[in-house]
């Protein structure tokens, strides 16, 4: 891949998603663009980039950006955050919201859906009393491709085999040939929407719980700060933020206080 083409793609991806592609990542860019170029009918990456250069931002540009996202995810990733949710965070919030009987949960950068579905199954399994509450789980991602897969609720055996407790497989999935289909009652709990974290966010209700895991790592400090600031504004004063294992608010936003629950860090707005 030619350096000028790499530079163009790096700038495009940075501008549209804030994802920073280091120069050493050029092999990665190449391996992801090659199939895309072929699919879109270009003879080479160079031809694809040439086309990008001469047209205004359109679907093709979005698909290039989407191809650069890392969508790696699994059910109950890292486990502890979901233990914290089940054992401490949800019981606490349910107690506090007893009269409003309302919960709002946002899963930003949800990829193919394993994270929001893990939250939904946790609620179904352990908090049946919430069935009569007004509970909404909003799940968003930049990539419309992963959202489409997430919405389908259909997973292959490799995805099902990772991190998902066997009792949940039996209870919440139907096998359909090679795939496993999440049952309707769990699917219905989630609303999937496209949302780019670095663009203006659509109006959203205040959140009780926000998951924004394993996405800030791709961004520069300034971008992380801006996103955390917006999350802070969206979070209810007694709400809770979950980040990925390699992420924290430290040195980025001191309006959050970190607490350790079930061997995982959760972040609450400082009063």
């Amino acid at each position: 891949m030619e350096t000028v083409d790499f530079d163009y793609v790096r700038d495009l991806v940075r501008k549209r998603s804030a994802i920073v592609l280091e120069n050493e990542k050029s092999y990665l860019v190449e391996s992801r663009l090659q199939p895309l170029a072929r699919r879109e009918g270009f003879a080479s990456i160079n031809e694809l980039v040439t086309k990008l250069r001469v047209t205004g931002f359109d679907g093709l540009h979005s698909r290039v950006v989407e191809a650069m996202t890392t969508n790696e995810t699994l059910f109950f990733r890292d486990l502890q955050p979901f233990e914290a949710l089940r054992k401490v965070i949800l019981p606490e919030l349910i107690e506090k919201r007893m009269s409003a009987r309302q919960l709002r949960i946002w899963c930003a950068a949800c990829s193919t859906g394993q994270e929001p579905y893990s939250i939904a199954m946790t609620i179904k399994e352990h908090f049946p009393q919430l069935a009569t509450w007004d509970v909404k789980i909003l799940a968003t991602d930049l990539s419309t491709q992963v959202l489409e897969k997430a919405r389908s609720g259909s997973f292959n055996q490799i995805e099902i085999n990772r991190g998902l407790p066997a009792p949940f497989i039996v209870k919440y999935f139907d096998r359909q040939g090679m795939n496993w289909q999440l049952k309707e009652p769990v699917r219905q709990m989630i609303e999937f929407q496209p949302l780019n974290l670095i663009e203006a966010w659509p109006p959203m209700s205040s959140m009780d719980i926000v998951f924004i895991r394993n996405v800030l790592i791709y961004f520069e400090v300034q971008t992380k700060k801006e996103i955390l600031k917006k999350v802070r504004r969206l979070l209810r004063p007694d709400g809770v933020l979950f980040l990925g294992g390699a992420e924290s608010t430290f040195n980025l936003d001191d309006s959050f206080a970190r607490t350790e629950i079930e061997k995982t860090s959760v972040y609450r707005p400082q009063s």
Partner: protein, 126 residues
């Protein structure tokens, strides 16, 4: 810490051993359920058992049933690792008393995620 691997395939036992050993377990192996029981008797300190379903002599589900019928083995964690992948079979294994169920084929990471679910600690990982 002791773990027992019960599978009629030596190759499969080897693959499982290579994943579990680094967690700090000493490994005992058996080729079917009856041998599995002999190993349990020899090593009372076994706390984790990975067991296949289809095996000669005594299959995995009968083995699980027998282990769960013995109060001495109450604290043993049982993980079925099998190519039986129908949801009805998975449900039966759970009802019979397995703590987790892993479908073959799998990767080390998948087995480790299942072990994490049942609280098998990972001393050498962290």
């Amino acid at each position: 810490m002791y773990a027992l691997i019960v599978d009629d395939s030596r190759a499969m036992r080897h693959i499982l051993r290579k994943i579990v050993e680094p967690l700090g377990f000493q490994i005992a192996e058996a080729g079917h359920g009856i041998e599995g029981f002999q190993r349990l008797a020899e090593h009372p300190e076994i706390e984790l058992v990975l067991v296949d379903w289809n095996m000669p002599e005594m299959n995995g589900i009968d083995f699980v049933k027998a282990v769960r019928a013995n109060p001495d083995y109450e604290r043993i964690k049982l993980v079925m690792v099998t190519t039986e992948t129908e949801p009805s079979k998975m449900a039966r294994a759970l009802m019979t008393g397995v703590d987790e169920f892993l479908m073959k084929p799998f990767t080390p990471e998948m087995l480790l995620s299942k072990l994490q679910l049942i609280g098998v600690s990972m001393p050498l990982m962290a």
